[in-house]
Structures are given as structure tokens and as C-alpha cells.
Symmetry: C2
Subunit: 298 residues, 2 copies
């Protein structure tokens, strides 16, 4: 019996090998078929958005939970009382004037790369950041940390980190089109304004928050929320008569986070020098899109 099996193997082993290889080769196709058996394009699209939230929610359930309060307690009590909303109301004429005047004021804002080293009172910076803090945010998580640096040595360290990365960005990493698109600002990898301006403001987005008992609290839409807050920051800086530059220093995030002792849940979103524009500050003579290119009405 064993003899028959052996001689069969000697004779037919190539067929067995073919069988095994064919099976191995076709396996991925079978697996693909399996996941394709429930085609649900919509559900698939949804997954991306919700899985992350679910994961974060699951994470927080798993951590710091010692079992005596299994029920999730949201940071804002569901029965927080409602209060009347009282805000100034203007006549139609006032409203027209105010909206027009605010546009004209904001329209004078420009991104500035030349700063005076004239000091700016910290109280002004505080009001500006308080204003940024009035921004709405996903589930009122307020996921922003504004780090305000005026220390000369620290500003030099920040500049060194940014310039080292920017030199690589400009010479190696940035695609040809991008450097071409940015040529009009005539900026290079050197950033003298980072030590000239009296303040560097670093906006960190809190990807998650930490709740009592070490639970992680997911910060929904943290990047959008922080960017909206930055819009209010820009309005406040300009309204005070100061200038800034909205920059996204690439690849500097981890180094700057470490330098500034920010916790792991914070990621650098924007870096903004703040100060008086220098008396000889220049800007590229470019305009903005006209209204009919940015607004459509129905």
C-alpha cells in the first residue's frame, strides 16, 4: 500500500506541485471575492469617518476604567440649563454699515514677513488669544493650545529648527510646481522674522484630551476647529494693529513639540510670528479674487 503511494508520488508529483501552486496563486482572488460578497459602497464610505471615532471611543473605554462607573460621563452635563441668548441687534442700516466697514478693515490685512522688534504688551497677546478661544469647536472640545514665545533664546532655537527643515523642504522635498507657485513671495528657507518679531505663536491642535481618571477624550474635527480659531486670531491680531504670517512649517512639528514640552496629544498646526510690521515692510502686489469667483447664490 505504502509502495503504491510512493510510486504514485514519484510519477505524479509535478501535478501535486501544480495543484498547490495554483491554490496559492488563486487564494487572494478567493479572499477578494469574499469581501466583495456584500457590496455596500455607501457603508464603505461611511466607515472611514466613523471608524476613527469609534476607535477613539473604544480606546477611552479601555483605559483608566476601574470598573466602578461603567457609564460614560460626558464632559458637559446633558442637563446643563439653557439661557436666553442676548446679543446686540442692529437696524438694517447699521448692519449694512457694520458689515461693509468690517470687510474694509479686514481687507487691509496682509501676510507680513518683515517685523519691527518693538515690544508688544503681553496683555494685547492675551486678549488676542482669548478672542481665538471664542471659536466654536466640535462638541465644544476647544482643542487648541496657543504657545506664546517671547524668550529670545527659545525664538532662536525655534528658528534653527524651522530653517533646518525648510532648507530640506525648499531644496529637496517640495515638488517643482509648489516652489514655482511660491516664488512670488520671494521667500527662501531663511526665516529672519522668527527672531525679529517680538512673539512667535505656535498653535497646537489637541488630537485628544485627557479626562479625569486618565480617559482619552476624542476631539472631533480638531484640525478644522483649530483653523477656525486661527481665523479669529488673525482678525484679532489685525484689529489690534499688529501683523502676522500664517505658516505651516513642514516636518518641524515633533521637534518643536519637544522643545516646548507639549504633551503627546498635541500636534503643531500653525506657527505665527506676531509683531508690528517693520516701517519698510513690503508685500507682493497681488489682489484677491472678486466676489463672483468665491460666492454663488441661489
Amino acid at each position: 500500500m505504502a509502495g503504491i503511494v510512493v510510486s504514485a508520488l514519484v510519477l505524479y508529483w509535478p501535478y501535486l506541485v501544480i495543484l498547490a501552486l495554483t491554490f496559492e496563486l488563486l487564494r487572494p482572488h478567493f479572499q477578494k471575492k469574499k469581501t466583495r460578497a456584500f457590496p455596500d459602497l455607501k457603508a464603505k464610505k461611511v466607515t472611514d469617518v466613523y471608524e476613527k471615532r469609534k476607535e477613539a471611543a473604544d480606546d477611552s473605554d479601555n483605559e483608566g476604567d476601574d470598573g466602578d462607573d461603567d457609564e460614560y460621563k460626558p464632559p458637559i452635563a446633558p442637563d446643563v440649563p439653557f439661557v436666553p441668548y442676548t446679543a446686540p441687534r442692529y437696524s438694517e442700516k447699521e448692519m449694512l454699515e457694520r458689515s461693509q466697514a468690517f470687510f474694509e478693515e479686514m481687507n487691509q490685512r496682509r501676510t507680513i514677513r518683515f517685523y519691527s522688534d518693538r515690544p508688544v504688551p503681553m496683555e494685547v497677546m492675551e486678549s488676542i488669544i482669548r478672542t481665538a478661544g471664542t471659536s466654536p469647536s466640535g462638541a465644544h472640545t476647544e482643542p487648541w493650545t496657543y504657545v506664546v514665545v517671547s524668550d529670545a533664546k527659545l525664538k532662536e532655537d525655534i528658528r534653527a529648527i524651522v530653517e533646518a527643515e525648510e532648507e530640506i523642504n525648499y531644496t529637496k522635498r517640495m515638488a517643482g510646481q509648489w516652489t514655482a507657485d511660491l516664488k512670488f513671495v520671494r521667500t527662501e528657507w531663511t526665516k529672519p522674522y522668527l527672531t525679529e518679531a517680538p512673539y512667535i505663536v505656535l498653535l497646537f491642535k489637541q488630537v485628544y484630551g485627557l479626562m479625569p481618571r486618565g480617559r482619552k477624550k476624542n476631539h472631533y474635527y480638531n484640525e478644522i476647529s483649530c483653523s477656525i480659531s486661527c481665523g479669529l486670531f488673525l482678525a484679532a491680531v489685525h484689529h489690534a494693529g499688529l501683523a502676522t504670517l500664517t505658516s505651516t512649517p513642514m516636518n518641524c512639528g515633533p521637534a518643536l513639540r519637544q522643545l516646548l514640552n507639549r504633551p503627546e496629544n498635541e500636534k503643531l498646526l500653525l506657527l505665527l510670528p506676531v509683531g508690528y510690521p517693520s516701517d519698510d515692510a513690503m508685500v507682493p502686489g497681488i489682489g484677491r479674487k472678486p466676489l463672483d469667483e468665491i460666492m454663488v447664490s441661489y
Copy 2:
């Protein structure tokens, strides 16, 4: 000669099949080895960010190029002349007062879910959107489209789309923690304000732009730029004495884009009803984080 080949094939075809199958089976491994031959962790981390840009740049090189101008022409000429920056400069005392007053004004802003149907002049909306259009943006791409809807039928259609998705969001998709986090606003999947408010503003981010000759122009940081622009929009709405609600309607993007005839390169980022708050408008009695929780200074 032909006879020898045929009989060799008849005898040895299993070996040939094994050879072919083995080659097919090992091909992916050879390919993997090829890309792994240059391990560069840093470059890998960078890749995520830059590959997208490179792809976009490559795309535009491949499309609409009929060969007679191979050199890439940036949308803003690299030699655009510089002009002096002239903006109001205030004394330190004025600056302190202005920054404090602006904070107090913005601090009165709240997210509103109850609107009056009292009409708002379109001119006011235009000034507000012009203000939003003063936002800085990556490489001055200005990647935003504000769609302003006042048509009653269209507002109903938008509400129907949003409510249909929101019902699923609330009952099925949203993680338990998220619904719990949002309970304090006592919102449900119904959105009456979408038909009550005189306007619905839909902010679309332009993921890429189209240049003359059909080239695609990558819009760097388009989501951050549009969100910053939204911050200026919120300031302008509030400054005019109007109210809004910053919402990110999940999964409604494609349907709303189609309803509003927006092109493929635009994706819905935010949906904001705008109008007078109703006389009985209420808001949850919650505060904002104190300064020392959102600001760190060095």
C-alpha cells in the same frame, strides 16, 4: 525538429507549468524587495505629505499639455512687484483698548439653533463673504466657494438631505461617546433652522483648481485655509449682529454638491445657516476655557 519539441512538451509540460506558476507566485516578492532596497525612515514619513503634492504636480504636467510650453507657469508671476504695506498703526494704549474690546465683542458670539425668518439684505451677506475671502491661503490659492442659498425650495431640499443623513448618524453611525458628548445641546436629527433661517451658506473647499488649458492646480492646505476663512466669516456674521451655526453635516457632501451643481473639485466642508437669532433663542449655559488652559507662554 518540430516533432521533438512537441514530444518534449507532452513529456515535460508539468515542469513548464510549475515554472510559470512559481514565477507568477514570486513576482510580488521581487517587486517588494525592489522598493525596500532603499530604506529611509525619514523619507518615508515625509512621503505622505509630499507624494500628494508631487502627484498633483505630475497630474497637471500630464494633462492639457500640448507640448509647446513645457515650462510650468505659476498662477502668480514670480516677478510680481512688491508694494509697501500700509496699515493703521495704533498707540500702545489704543492697541490695548482695541484688543480688549474686540475680545469682548467676539466673546458674545454663540452658536445659534433658533432663527427668525426676518429677511437679511443680500448686501450684508456679500460683505460677510468678501470678509471671509480676505483669509490667507496656501500659496494664495483662495480655495473656497461660498454657496449662499435663500431659495425656499432649495433650502427644503437641503434640509431633507441633511435630516435623512443625520437620522442615520444619530441612530446608527455615531459612537456612543459622541452622542453622549453632544447631548448638552439637546439637538436631534431634525434641523428646523435649515428652513427657518433666511440663508444657508455652504462652504466648499476646492481640492484642486483648474488652470487655463485644463491643467489641475493643487490647492495646498485647502481644508486648513477654508477653515481659517470660516473663522473670519464667523467674526463678520457676529459683527453684523447676525448669528450662525458651524456644522459639519456628515455624509451629505456628495448629495449637496450635486444638488447645488458644484464641480467635482469641490468638497463640502461646512454648512452654516445665517440669520437673526429668534427673539426666544436659547443657548446651553456653558462657558469657555479660561486663558491659562488655552495659552502657555515662554
